[in-house]
């Protein structure tokens, strides 16, 4: 009978009489909040992509009328030709949207919310109402940021890093209200992230199902947990900096204005003290979810589970002491630069541990190349390229040369697009059945994957070469410089590839939308995975479990010799498995 107690009830677990508004709009259910984040951040991903296409048009075909550019107002693109002051807004807002409103909420907002309670066997987050507040604050922040594009003077213009004094002095940048709205949106987003993070951390620490010990947690949860700690401690620093920047513009303070005694470099320190942990916020969750998908696709236990956990913790810790490597050209003391260089290079160690563990997991595995697995393998490959170019930049002398060039742009897109976004495409396909009860189309998924991989590399790989040739980041018109003129055909090639890359995302969008309504009904455990979430019906009901499941083992017991199938769910009791202590403690407590 104890075996039955560990097996969750399948079927509609709770009678659900909440109104439509409570159930789908102002919901406190972590799964609905995750899905809300999914739709909102996919929208912002599209917005960010649209901005990128305009950037690429200007770089590939400078001063030529952009197709559809006539739709834009005179202040942005008269006769379809992008103005310099609109171009710098494009660059700024592309970075801002992609980092803060697309990739970060996609990774953390969607998957921390959706996966943490499901994978740990909790009924919901520790603070469901704070969770709801976190989503609505993030949405408000996104809308403020979006509307800043349409105010008379236009959006913020100092690049997504908002270097002072350009950002602090409206008379220098020409953006008053737009810049202030950027600050307000970032403060709101920081608040949203802090509210989310404290929820995730509390839930992971205190609400794991009996038997779900620390080292039985899936790596996705480990990664999201460390990410939440990074977000909790890094975002308030950005909020503080953004508030000071806002005050500089509105109430006349002088924090970042050197003319009045302030320090422009202070902004860089504050921004990158936040900014480098942020980099790991943007990659760690993808690493965690990729670990889950690779173990699933290899039908083998993950190679080196403990070393994976300690690598995540190591990356999370080292992320705090490397921010100076963004500032090698700021005139810092060379000794300080060297120490930042060393700490940065040390990060390659845990990253390499993870990479080799992924390969070790696949080695001699019974590989199943379903769509999530393909994306996960591409993640590893692309992350290696991005990681290696990262080591180039970590070396101070090399960075002096390639700082603020397209080499940096290539690097960040290899880790953020090739890394995080490939991981996300995989994750979306992987957990789609548990979110919506239907499968995404595998065939179209593979078409999308191969075309994306191809055009993605055609777009971003040549940027390395451009960067080494000295092509500056954020320049308006590369043909103005004689030394860049020979590279203009390459710029055009990149632009055409980028347009194609953007176009093939329509396959994903259509696959996503059509599958939402017409996709094949998903079986309960379509990927034959071990995670607790797959023991629930599709889609999982409000409150998740009728009875909290007992957990008997780690999450990666594929091809276990004692199991009848080639997978062994964490909550399935085999003869001889001891009952988790927490379960018996709890029942004793009740009887007493």
């Amino acid at each position: 009978m104890t075996t039955v107690a560990g097996t969750p009830h399948v079927g509609h677990a709770h009678s659900d009489d909440r109104s439509f508004l409570r159930k789908y709009i102002f919901s406190t259910d972590h799964k609905i909040i995750g899905i809300q984040f999914l739709f909102v951040s996919l929208f912002f991903l599209f917005v960010g992509g649209l901005l990128a296409m305009q950037i690429r048009w200007q770089l590939g075909f400078p001063n030529q009328p952009m197709p559809g550019g006539k739709l834009l107002p005179e202040t942005m693109a008269p006769d379809g030709v992008i103005l310099p002051e609109y171009y710098i807004q494009l660059v700024t807002m592309h970075g801002t949207f992609m980092v803060f409103f697309a990739v970060m909420p996609l990774l953390v907002g969607v998957y921390a919310n959706f996966l943490i309670p499901l994978k740990l066997g909790a009924h919901d987050m520790a603070f469901p109402r704070i969770n709801m507040a976190s989503f609505w604050t993030a949405l408000l922040a996104g809308l403020v940021m979006l509307s800043s594009l349409f105010v008379p003077e236009g959006a913020a213009r100092a690049g997504w890093t908002m270097y002072a004094p350009l950002s602090a002095r409206p008379d220098l940048s020409g953006a008053g209200l737009g810049q202030q709205m950027w600050c307000i949106a970032i403060v709101l987003l920081g608040l949203s992230s802090i509210l989310g993070s404290l929820n995730y951390i509390t839930t992971v620490i205190n609400m794991r199902a009996p038997g779900m010990t620390w080292f039985r947690m899936p790596l996705s949860i480990w990664a999201l947990f460390i990410t939440a700690i990074l977000g909790l401690l890094a975002l308030p620093v950005l909020s503080g900096a953004a508030i000071m920047l806002l005050f500089d513009q509105t109430i006349g303070t002088h924090f970042f204005d050197p003319a009045a005694g302030g320090q422009a470099l202070l902004w860089q320190h504050l921004f990158w003290f936040f900014g480098h942990p942020e980099v790991y916020i943007l990659i760690l969750p993808a690493m965690g979810m990729v670990s889950d998908m690779i173990a699933n696709g290899s039908r083998k236990p993950i190679f080196g589970y403990h070393s994976m956990v300690f690598a995540i913790i190591g990356i999370g810790f080292l992320g705090w002491i490397v921010w100076g490597h963004h500032m090698f050209v700021s005139g810092m003391n060379p000794t300080l630069g060297s120490s930042f260089m060393v700490t940065t290079m040390i990060i390659a160690v845990p990253s390499a541990i993870k990479t080799f563990n992924w390969m070790g997991t696949m080695w001699r595995g019974n590989l199943r190349f379903h769509v999530p697995m393909m994306h996960a393998v591409a993640f590893v490959a692309m992350f290696v390229i991005g990681g290696l170019s990262g080591i180039f930049m970590a070396a101070t002398p090399v960075d002096m040369h390639i700082h603020d060039t397209y080499f940096i742009v290539a690097h960040i897109h290899y880790v953020l697009f090739g890394g995080s976004l490939f991981g996300l495409f995989g994750a979306i396909t992987f957990w789609f059945p548990k979110m919506f009860g239907r499968m995404m189309h595998q065939g179209w998924g593979k078409v999308h994957f191969w075309l994306t991989l191809l055009f993605y590399n055609l777009t971003f790989f040549p940027m390395h070469i451009l960067g080494m040739a000295g092509h500056m980041r954020r320049i308006y018109d590369p043909t103005m410089y004689d030394f860049l003129k020979p590279y203009q055909p390459m710029n055009q090639f990149i632009s055409v590839s980028a347009f194609l890359l953007f176009a093939v995302q329509a396959i994903f969008a259509l696959n996503f939308l059509v599958s939402l309504f017409r996709g094949a009904k998903a079986p309960q455990n379509p990927w034959q995975d071990n995670g607790l979430e797959w023991t629930l019906p599709n889609p999982a009901p409000h409150g998740n479990w009728e009875r909290v499941p007992n957990v008997y083992r780690g999450p990666y017991e594929y091809s276990h010799p004692n199991a009848t199938e080639d997978y062994l769910p964490q909550s399935q009791k085999l003869p001889g498995d001891p009952e988790p202590a927490a379960a018996s403690r709890a029942s004793q407590g009740r009887e007493a």
């Binding site: 802090i194 205190n206 009996p210 909790l232 002088h254 005694g261 202070l266």
Partner: protein
């Protein structure tokens, strides 16, 4: 057997608990960690700007009214003591003393905000603004006489108002949430000897705000 199953459906659910603290308390500790980082950003910026400031930083007491703020600091420390007394009362199951000490805390906290508002009013009246010194004001005369170095007064105003302002904002939030708890939980007697997590959690926040003020008072008003 059936009883055991229905029991498992009711909170508190059986769980692996990483720390021996209930969720709200753990959540507050986690939240305070992020607050530490927020104030560190402000205070750290203040330290860097002060060390790099052009000209001499204004000496304590020239611009600010230190005795008034010292009294205010005393008020806030008293409110921390009364918060501890409120918690100790309800831990003993004493509803009457909880009501008294909780109210004392609210009054001290509100008085702190009031005195700070009074202080701001006077400072602005004397010509001390976030952007520096107002022309033709009392402080502008001190600058003209050479008692005050003008070069760093802009930074002084920027950091002073931002740091103390955000601290005041936190105190205000604390007072508002305590007033809310007072009318919804304390007065109706909803806290008991067994169940008084709300007092403990709001107390944690209150002591944190108090601690931040002791640091701010030291570095802004005393040195």
């Amino acid at each position: 057997m059936t009883t055991a199953n229905t029991d498992a459906m009711r909170p508190p659910f059986p769980a692996e608990r990483g720390v021996d603290a209930y969720n709200t308390k753990l959540g507050m500790w986690v939240f305070l960690a992020s607050e530490v980082m927020f104030f560190t950003a402000l205070i750290g910026s203040y330290i860097i700007l002060r060390f790099g400031a052009p000209g001499e930083w204004a000496r304590p007491g020239v611009v600010l009214n230190v005795p008034v703020t010292a009294f205010n600091t005393f008020l806030l420390i008293c409110s921390s003591v009364s918060m501890v007394k409120a918690y100790a009362s309800i831990a003993d199951g004493d509803q009457r003393m909880l009501k008294i000490w909780f109210l004392v805390t609210i009054i001290c906290g509100a008085a702190f905000v009031g005195v700070q508002g009074f202080e701001y009013y006077h400072l602005i009246h004397r010509g001390f603004l976030p952007s520096g010194v107002r022309e033709g004001s009392e402080l502008a005369e001190l600058v003209a006489k050479g008692t005050l170095s003008e070069a760093s007064l802009g930074l002084y105003g920027s950091t002073f108002y931002t740091m103390t302002g955000f601290h005041g904002f936190h105190v205000t939030c604390g007072v508002i949430s305590m007033i809310y708890l007072y009318f919804t939980k304390v007065l109706p007697g909803k806290y008991t000897q067994q169940n008084h997590g709300g007092v403990e959690v709001v107390g944690l926040y209150w002591h944190f705000v108090d601690l931040v003020w002791i640091i701010l008072f030291t570095i802004v008003y005393l040195i």
